[in-house]
Amino acid sequence: MSMIDTPLMRGLERVLDLSAFRHQVIAANLANIDTPGYRTRDVRPFAGEIEQAMAGDEPSLTEQSFTPVAHEIRGLLERPDGNNVSVERESLLLAQNQLRFQVAVQFLKAEFHKLSSAINGGSAS
């Protein structure tokens, strides 16, 4: 593409792409919280994230090997109508995901500013 690229930028862009995609999936789960038979979906690199984080590993979001795919989650409590969307889970993930997106944006902005300074020799913006 262009010379304007660093490994950090690529990693951050990836976090943004994944977070944006996950946001859509979470919003769809929330929209279908009362739909009979609807199964909760999540995005593969993140799945099991809460469990992983508790076990002490952070999922590696900047690896290129993951293609984000939405898939059904197992292990959730199912209601009589077949719906297994959990209010608590989706609300938590909604907030967490939004925060992650925000953090990535800020770091990416800082990276852009750094490059801009380097290009312009530290003078002018």
Partner: protein, 144 residues
């Protein structure tokens, strides 16, 4: 994220839950209605929710696999098929020959529970809209 699709998706849920609340209101208003234009007592109404796949153009350039997320819609408003509740009131104008009056099978407790569910789901999807807006503003902020 896909601007045009995201807000619509959450919006579909807001609309569906609102419709559900309206049906509850109608049921509550008619809890004592023994006589309708169609004859017979008011029949309790329920909404049927259905997931609705939103077609979305995939971002071939980005190489990311996009699956369609689903919005929700009210597939139908149906009448409760349970038989009406019969109460012995021989003096009532709508009493049948045996002296029983047919009342709608509307249970206020059941309706209130349903309403609370609709309100909670509405609030959840409203916060999803807020989250989407937040992320849109963040994205715009990338350009300083």
């Amino acid at each position: 994220m896909n601007l045009f699709g995201m807000l619509e998706l959450s919006g579909s849920a807001l609309g569906a839950e609102r419709q559900r609340a309206e049906v509850v209101a109608s049921n509550m208003a008619n809890v004592q209605t023994t006589r309708t234009a169609a004859g017979g007592p008011y029949r309790r109404q329920l909404v049927v929710f259905q997931a609705q796949h939103v077609p979305r153009f995939s971002l071939a350039l980005a190489g990311l696999h996009r699956e369609t997320a689903s919005a929700v819609r009210v597939a139908a408003v149906v009448s409760d098929q349970r038989p009406p509740v019969l109460r012995f009131e021989p003096g009532h104008p709508d009493a049948n020959p045996q002296g029983y009056v047919a009342y709608p099978q509307v249970d206020p407790v059941e309706e209130m529970t349903d309403l609370l569910g609709a309100v909670r789901a509405y609030e959840l999807n409203a916060s999803a809209v807020q989250a989407t807006k937040g992320m849109i503003l963040q994205s715009l902020d990338l350009l300083r």
